[in-house]
């Protein structure tokens, strides 16, 4: 069910009303039923995979918890009988058992994700390998159904499992409460990927009606719809036109695609998250923020601390750190320190872990080489700028004032956003060699005149629509900047008339200028094929 469909609006409205009519103890059960219904409507057969992940994670979690408690009791009983050494080896043995169970859980769930999402891709490449070596017969690509949001709920469940293993969180006893954590519907569509410590208790705790929560939450939902319907879906019309025959839209059109796609994906993704977080806030549930004004980031590294934050922290906590501090990596760094000197030795674990993390991040985004190359390019930029740090420091020492000047920050931010935009077009051109050729064509094909001679008008948007798109985008960024020191909703909160009229105005703007209905077909979320 699309966020922009009438059915979802009705679904959300009924849920919100029902939520506050239900007695507090029953609220989480309503949420669970709503989430399962939401999932059922997306495709009944998908539910099986969700339940498989939820039950397996729950089981492994409870087993590890039980093992840990058993370990504590035996330790206290044997306090006198065992010496320190014996106690230590007993603890190590038990931890090994728990680690094996954790591995079992991880392999089962990540295996399911891999099979469902990447078999087609893997078989396709094996076929190409077979062709390369002249083999005639090839494997047929099985058509597997891809459950909605499998990447999100799998990652969320696995973060819970690892946290239980790390004893940061104690396992959830109640199976249905855990199922709610896995299946909580708004974040199934495109995240955020929450941690059990933050979300678990909130979901099952009862929430009294609070006018502030409901108002602020629904205002944020409304703003999400503004970004999605007025900006993202309108920009998508041109993007689709350009993607219809990418090879024939070169030069200026590639630059237009970069800028348009940057705006489109920002509006679409942050809009979707606004709807998710806003709806949860209206029910008193605070989800982790997934964005922090990414267009202000002055470097790629900072960009990835502000864009899709919950994915970034997930990969850092559960891939990057474990990989870089694990025994083999440490030994490797010690070895290379002895043979290739301190400088190299120090960098090996960091760089290896970064490359691996970004490879997996790319792969996670989609089953395609364009996503993997997108990931590795991001990694390349980060590592190169990491290497250039001494260069930058020397540069800033020569121009000390520069580092503080706002203009320079603006230049850096523009450069970063543009760079991210360029790399991100791998997402939409979906074909690596074609993307590189098109990037090149920006400098070889000089059709920048098309921008002014009306050629842009037959890409699906008339003059009025283009102007509206530009104005709406400017408004979106302006409102975001206006809210830096104090959230806009807080400012409005103090003046009820201003708040009410702002809500009314935005509502009417969406209704009139939204790119929805027969004239425009509502677009899928960019991340919906997850």
């Amino acid at each position: 069910m699309l966020f922009t469909s009438y059915e979802f609006l009705l679904f959300a409205a009924l849920l919100l009303v029902g939520y506050y009519l239900f007695p507090r103890a029953w609220q989480w059960r309503l949420l669970l039923v709503a989430s399962l219904v939401f999932y059922w409507l997306a495709g009944p057969r998908y539910l099986i995979f969700l339940l498989l992940t939820a039950s397996s994670t729950y089981a492994v979690g409870r087993w590890m918890d039980a093992n840990l408690r058993a370990q504590e009791t035996t330790l206290t009983e044997q306090r006198q009988a065992w010496e320190k050494e014996q106690r230590k080896s007993f603890k190590a043995r038990e931890k090994k058992k728990r680690f094996r169970m954790l591995l079992l859980g991880l392999i089962f769930n990540f295996g399911m994700l891999a099979v469902l999402k990447y078999t087609g891709f893997a078989v396709h490449n094996v076929n190409r390998l077979l062709h390369a070596f002249g083999a005639e017969n090839t494997l047929n690509i099985p058509s597997l159904l891809l459950p909605m949001g499998i990447s999100f709920y799998t990652f969320q469940s696995m973060s819970y499992l690892i946290d239980v293993y790390r004893e940061k969180v104690s396992a959830e006893r109640h199976p249905l409460k855990f199922l709610l954590f896995v299946s909580y519907f708004p974040q199934l569509v495109q995240g955020p990927i929450s941690r059990y410590a933050d979300l678990g208790p909130q979901l099952t705790a009862g929430h009294a009606f609070s006018s502030r929560n409901v108002r602020w939450g629904l205002e944020r939902v409304l703003w999400g719809y503004f970004k999605k319907l007025v900006i993202a879906d309108r920009a998508l019309i041109v993007i689709k036109a350009l993607l219809d025959e990418p090879a024939s839209y070169r030069g200026m059109y590639v630059l237009m695609m970069i800028l348009l796609y940057t705006v489109q994906i920002y509006a679409d993704f942050t809009g979707g998250i606004d709807i998710t977080v806003g709806l949860s806030e209206a029910m008193g549930i605070r989800l982790t923020e997934n964005f922090n004004r990414p267009f202000l980031s002055r470097s790629t590294k900072e960009y990835w601390n502000r864009w899709h934050i919950t994915m970034g922290t997930w990969f850092t906590d559960y891939v990057f750190y474990p990989l870089s501090v694990c025994k083999p990596m440490q030994r490797l760094s010690k070895f290379s320190r002895q043979h290739f000197g301190n400088a190299v030795g120090k960098r090996i674990p960091v760089y290896l872990a970064t490359v691996a993390t970004w490879f997996l991040t790319g792969l996670w985004h989609g089953a395609g080489w364009n996503f993997i190359v997108w990931g590795l390019l991001n990694c390349l930029v980060i590592l190169v700028s990491q290497e250039c740090v001494p260069l930058y420091t020397r540069f800033y020492r020569r121009f000390p004032r520069l580092n503080e000047s706002a203009v320079w920050h603006g230049v850096q931010a523009a450069r970063t956003v543009l760079l991210m935009g360029v790399i991100r077009t791998l997402d939409c051109y979906r074909d690596v060699p074609l993307t590189f050729r098109l990037w090149g064509s920006m400098f070889t094909t000089f059709n920048y005149g098309d921008l002014f001679n009306g050629a842009v008008l037959d890409l699906g948007l008339g003059r009025a629509d283009w102007i509206l798109l530009l104005i709406a985008t400017a408004v979106m960024f302006a409102v975001s900047l206006w809210g830096i020191r104090e959230p806009v909703r807080a400012k409005l909160d103090r003046h009820p008339t201003a708040e009410a009229s702002a809500v009314a105005l935005v509502f009417l703007l969406i209704m009139i200028f939204g790119a929805y209905g027969i004239g425009f077909d509502a677009s899928q979320f960019i991340y919906n094929q997850f």
Partner: protein, 75 residues
């Protein structure tokens, strides 16, 4: 402790590590710095900091890092 401080200064010479209590929260040490730091510490103090110990409380200040090292040392 001094050895730890030189490692930190080598990473970010312009940061006063003695007094600061918000190395992670303020984003002074990011994920790349932390990993480089851990590799240095593991090598210098012959400990091995496991991934689950990489949490803000342990890395927000030099003292916190030192406490972690000691805890791992005699565990």
């Amino acid at each position: 402790m001094e050895q730890l401080l030189n490692i930190l200064n080598e990473l970010h010479p312009d940061v006063d590590f003695e007094s600061r209590e918000d190395l992670i929260d303020e984003g002074i040490l990011d994920s790349l710095d932390i990993v480089t730091l851990i590799t240095e510490i593991n090598d210098a103090f012959d400990v091995s900091i496991p991934a689950e110990e990489i949490i803000p409380e342990n890395f927000n200040s030099a003292a916190a890092i030192w406490a972690l090292i000691e805890k791992l040392d005699e565990a």
